[in-house]
């Protein structure tokens, strides 16, 4: 594990700053849509409810991407992977998105702490008093403990993301292989912490929107969705950066091919988890469980469910399987963008069917709802990307003195 001296000479340090000020400007420009969505909330029927849920959907869509990135970084360290070194730094940048998201999720926690049931029924003591199930779940589902868990989840993720980015960046300076060993040793416990926090965060923030319903696989479902989102984002980012002249030499079609393979594999994994959840509930046919899927077949949600089955799984499974699709940057970009949209629809499908009007009726899919969601997503996305660019700053886009860099540079699929 010796840093080869010629690697240092060969590889020039590139930073995202070479992209110029345009990306930052575009990101900040997009973030204007968030206040627009907020204002729209006052103009639309049931606008407040729609805004609250859209906001939750948008933040958790981007959170899933950052958490996917964090998982990727951890698993690369744990398995001592060599091939992925050149694209690990970008993943570390994406995982830093948990910091802007911690701030963005804070209003949700504050609203819940204030006892408003706009998102979570269990947050209002009035609802709990009239509901036996909510009473039984109150020791866990109460706003104080919820806020505490928010601190634990985001605290853990920020800690992990910062730790692995900072150690890796420090290695850019001194090239100390001990840092790699340190990260490898820490990655095991870090993954345990990660597994628990992402599972419970999915349960707390999304599953408890319908506090009567429960699914033990829900945490894994959100995790799978996040990995699809992350690998899509990674592929899009890499192809974009390469088109702008960044990472053009170190990252070649072999690395893109592997990112494509992982994207395809985790898309199948997502489908596997989704069908596991559906099949058990379908078979047992217990009303308190089937209500989740029954509700997603009514009020226009049936079409969204079908889009997920066919669009998220069947179509990419058939057409994205081919090696050629993954090795051609253009087709890879298309499928990555396509699956990112599908991931967005997936989170949309998880969150939005829970929107109730002020009088307590469930709202169907409507143009207003989709418009609100798109505004929120673009707005939150602007802040998210701006945050990522800020953290990336003057850091190298590649771990230039990682001891396994050479292995990664010479990586070749058979």
């Amino acid at each position: 594990m010796q840093t080869s001296s010629d690697t240092n000479n060969k590889v020039s340090v590139q930073t995202l700053a070479e992209l110029g000020p345009l990306p930052m400007k575009v990101a900040l420009g997009c973030s204007v849509l968030l206040p627009v969505a907020f204002v729209l909330g006052f103009l639309m029927d049931n606008g407040t409810e729609l805004f609250a849920f859209s906001y939750l959907q948008s933040t958790f869509f981007f959170l899933s991407i950052s958490l996917g990135a964090l998982f990727f970084v951890l698993i690369q360290q744990l398995t001592r992977a060599g091939w992925s070194v050149v694209l690990r730094r970008i993943s570390e940048f994406i995982s830093m998105g948990v910091i802007p998201l911690a701030v963005l999720v804070l209003p949700i926690v504050l609203v819940t702490l204030s006892g408003s049931d706009i998102l979570y029924q269990w947050a209002s003591s009035k609802n709990v008093a009239g509901d036996h199930l909510l009473q039984a779940k109150a020791p866990y589902l109460n706003s104080g403990f919820f806020a505490l868990r928010y601190v634990i989840y985001f605290g853990s993720w920020i800690f992990l993301a910062r730790f692995f980015l900072n150690k890796s960046v420090a290695q850019d300076e001194n090239g100390d292989p001990e840092l790699t060993l340190l990260m490898e040793r820490r990655s095991g416990p870090a993954l345990l912490l990660y597994a628990f926090t992402i599972s419970f965060a999915a349960i707390d923030f999304i599953m408890s929107l319908d506090a009567h319903w429960f699914s033990t696989i829900f945490g894994v479902y959100y995790f799978a969705a996040g990995l699809v989102g992350f690998f899509s984002t990674l592929a899009i980012t890499l192809i974009y950066l390469r088109s702008k002249g960044l990472l053009q030499e170190p990252i070649n079609v072999e690395h893109l091919h592997d990112v494509g393979k992982l994207l395809f594999a985790f898309n199948c994994f997502w489908a596997y988890i989704a069908i596991s959840q559906y099949l058990l509930i379908w078979y047992a046919n217990i009303p308190e469980e089937t209500v989740f899927f029954l509700h997603r077949q009514e009020h226009g949600w049936g079409i969204i469910s079908l889009i997920l089955v066919i669009g998220h799984f069947a179509i990419p499974f058939v057409f994205f399987m081919s090696r050629w699709m993954k090795r051609n940057p253009k087709t890879l970009f298309f499928w990555a963008a396509y699956l990112l949209v599908m991931n967005w629809i997936d989170i949309f499908w998880l969150v939005m069917p829970n929107v109730k009007s002020g009088s307590g009726d469930f709202l169907g899919v409507s143009f207003a709802m989709i418009l609100m969601n798109i505004c929120c997503t673009v707005g939150v996305g602007g802040i998210y990307v701006a945050g990522l660019l800020k953290f990336a700053g003057q850091k190298s886009v590649m771990p230039v003195r990682d001891p396994r860099l050479e292995e990664s540079l010479k990586f070749h699929n058979i």
Binding site: I275, Y278, L279, W282, Y283, N285, H412, I414
Partner: protein, 462 residues
Amino acid sequence: MATTIEQSEETKAKAEPELLGLLAEFDDPDALIEASKKVRDAGYRKWDTHTPFPIHGIDEAMGIKWTILPWIVAGCGLTGGTIAVGMQYWMNAVDYPFLISGKPLFSIPASIPITFELSVLLAAFGAFLGMLGLNQLPKLYNPIFKSEAFRRVTNDRFFVSMDAKDAKFSEIDTGEFLNSLNPINVEEFWSDTESPKLPRNLTLGLSLVGVVMLLLAGLVAYVRTTTSPDPRIHIIQDMDFQPSLKAQNTTNLFPDGREIRPNLKGTIPRGQFKDDNIPFYYGLKYLPEDQDVVTIALQEEKKADDKTATDKKAPAEKPAAPAAVDPVAAKLDKLPWVTEFPVPVTEKLMARGKERYRIYCSACHGLGGEGDGLVTLRAMELLQGTWVKPASYHTENVRKLPIGRLYHTITNGVRKMPAYGSQVTPEDRWAIVLYLKALQKSHQIDADTISEAEKRKLRDIK
């Protein structure tokens, strides 16, 4: 004869070893890749490289075309999926339809796991066997192995082998061409003069295994076609001997010690919900307040608890139960019996009623319903004191009974007649009632209700 042919073949094989190709040896992978590119560009088709480890880029250097293996795998996977769906459809919805927890006989979600697994299985078979087939494996022996130099192919040497079957191949030109690639060495390899033989021990061992397997198959076939007084071997004990629960037994599985479980409060056993069609199930227009009367049967003696009374009963007394005094009879008379059939009256129902009547009723009541069935006749002949002669259907009293009452009698019994509700389905009971009404009509009919033609017919019979 045979020996001469064999000999001649052997001598022929021995006489002319054939040139199979040329072998060029290199000592590093880069040289091999360079050489491969040149061989590729020279237009040879039938040639190969041999290396101790996989070399990146050798595929491009050799100009190897894409394999059709992915399509074989896809075809096998699709076949597996089709077989799985077809099999499940055939088994569950056609061949042996069996309702499981109210699910449709064939449904897509239930089929997904097996479809998935069979697709993967056949795809894996396709990949594995297709790979073996396309690579012409397993190939235990190759004449190239005779080359001394070739032994180092698993250590540190790299080879290009040119097949003599190639259209461009010629011993001299190809040899010169190979030499121009700067190999360490070029040599020829020849076909074997005699066919390689399997080692004797291997032949013996394989035949032994074959015989043992045949023996096993023969043993299974033998025991499946013969009988034996020995008890069978139970391999899966806990499936063959299950601690099953039976009615009327005790168990310590439940605290109350009963094996038959009482109905849960507020539940109705499957098929026991009758309140949605009271006329059909009870023969009543509506259920009376006192629901117990619905299932009671008229007894011949009110003082049934008086034991001596049972013995003293004279058969003559019984048929005419003192209806005026009997509170049960009075209760039954007051019930709101249906007078119209709650089922559609059809030829089919009549035929069914006739058949059921002859099976269940005629033994006592007689084929014509006069109360002269074979059992009755025999009992009368034996002067059985306890036998109550069944009433004829053709008495004024019975003729006046509403059909709901007849249905009730079949269901719950009357006097000595047992209840038939548990043996005859409600539909069949109504069929019997229908046939019974027809029997009554056939015995006594008002002349005004039949047509002239029918009257004439009846006269002609006389």
